[in-house]
Amino acid sequence: MHRIIKRKLLRSARISSLYIIVAGIGFIIIFPMFFLFSFSFMSDYETYSEWPKPLVPSFRAEFMIDKDAEGYHLHIYNKADGAFAAFGPLFFTRAGEDLENLQKFIKRQANCAITPSGIGEQLDVVDKEGRVEFTLKKEFLANYILFFQVTRDAPAAVMRSLMVAGFTILISLSIGGMAGYAFARYYFKGKNLLKLSVLFVRMFPAVTIAIPMIIILARMGLADQPLGLSFVYSVGQISMNIWITASVFMAIPVSFEEAAMIFGTNRVGAFWHITLPLALPGLAACAMYSFIGSWNEVISAVVLTQFNPTFPVVVYKSLVGTQGQINLVTAGSVAQALPAIIFTLIIRKYILQMWGGVRV
């Protein structure tokens, strides 16, 4: 009996130390991402006027209006200081223009919506009691909406990025998939060299390749166009897709195809009716992988696009350029990261599988 208890203690000690390590690592992974996410919901006021900055965005903002001889004064509750702080114009009156400006100011700085007449109602209370406090609900997705409004090109850039990704998938999956099939089923000369192309194509900096590509694409009439960009992206994606599709096809026994050929179809038919349907989930994963690669790429796009930037370029420029407000930039970043993260999670089984057969 004593031994069983000892064994159990030992076991639980081992397990709990394991989980402490795991939790620690999980924390390190989540910690910075949490703030990226958190900042993307903060208003300008929270981001720039409160210090230390709040760690989580609030859902509402508290305001206070009082008045003196000059006129009305607007205050906002500063969480870091724990007190109301002056907010907006030095003073304002009941004039319609003033109220409209105030509405815009509250909307821009605090992400809260209130109508001029709404402010007027609050002022009535001030007139009666000398001061009023009121709470407004924050418009939670305001940064996201604003990012797409102020960043002139963002919605169109998203469309272009999707197009680039679509073309890249089409090109790299068809060309890479054919080679991957040859890898899985045949022996041929130069197999190893082709396999190593995944390394070769990464050795020369992509930015530099982009320069001569400008001229090549211009000659093809594809300069500054999604299709042209996807030709460039496909180089790296093809080498990747050869590896992925090769491992996908290898997992399907040749005997399946041979059986189909015995039962009256040729090699193409066997591929079409047997192998392709079985490989479909793997190929879909491969497509998502290409999507992520293309969707996330920024530097070639910076060089190769001029008037038609992709979405990552827009986000990049908003950050590196001067106009970026960090809460807006984080909103753009989250918007850009979301599809890539979702796809990665969908295909995580295949990511592990594709590296399973890796040998250099």
Binding site: L18, Y19, V22, I25, G26, I28, I29, M33, F35, L36, S38, F39, W51, P52, K53, P54, L55, I175, M178, A179, A182, Y186, Y187, F188, L194, S197, L199, R202, M203, P205, T208, I209, A210, I211, P212, I216, S234, I292, N296, V298, I299, V302, V303, P312, V315, T330, S333, A340, I341, T344, L345, R348, L352, Q353, M354, W355, G356, V358, R359, V360
Partner: protein, 301 residues
Amino acid sequence: MASLNLQTILDKETRKKMIPYMLIAPVIIYYFLFWIFPVLNAIIESFKSIEGVWTLGNYIHIFKDPVFYRALLNTAFLVFFSVTIEFILAFGLALLINTKFKGSSFFLFLAMIPMALPAVAVGAMWSSGLATRGWMNSVLMTFKIVDDAGKIIFLAGGNIASMWLIILIDAWQVIPFVMIILLAGLQGIGAESREAGYIFGGTKFQVLRKITIPMLKPTITTAMILRIISAIQIWLIIVMLFGFNRIPVLLEQVVLNVDELGSDFFERIGMALSVIVALIVSAAAILYLKVSGSFEKEAEK
């Protein structure tokens, strides 16, 4: 028409042998058009002056520039430490996940997220965090670890301190990737080999050193080479945090010349730099293969 002729000329056996070559032909053509051609183009241009005369001037310009040597040194520092640290931590993680504890698949799921994050998002994440009034200091102050006067000024450190910051940030994003490659390799080994090691007298450490690591060697080589290649080409995060020319590294200099400065002259400098980078990358990869190969021979004695 051509295919008809082919069919009559070639006998069935030869045609069958042709199939794989026909399947890989598009890849070869594609690589020629969109990779080898522009690369050759860039290499040739790097040896020409603006006027189109053959010259070594671009290279000489680089070698005379003191920033180049700083960039070279910084890159070497970055590659050596980041690859080493990433490998050790990733290997530890892979061994951990491979024990298949309850929730290990969820943990794997979590670990893959940094891998999926776009470089730009990573840049936004850290620049919003490491700014003097960023979330790092906010957290420290909220939990009263530092006061307002004691804020840490992350981005104003010296060269070496900034490099360590970059190494940590790069490790944060890249460790999952290395871990996944190693994990896949570990799962390919199978438990029996290790169990046999335990039965035939090995301690955990001996089994790791004499069985697991040697059997994992091809995977380790793959992971290391891929990492070395991309570590030499780190730049985006540096530019997003520090801007150009503050912490010069090789590729940041390439981008600076090619994109930021952008004139015909600087483009050629950038191309020459790229050729140098490519040479360094291949040299590093070959060196790594040589070194790891010689270790292996030593172990055999």
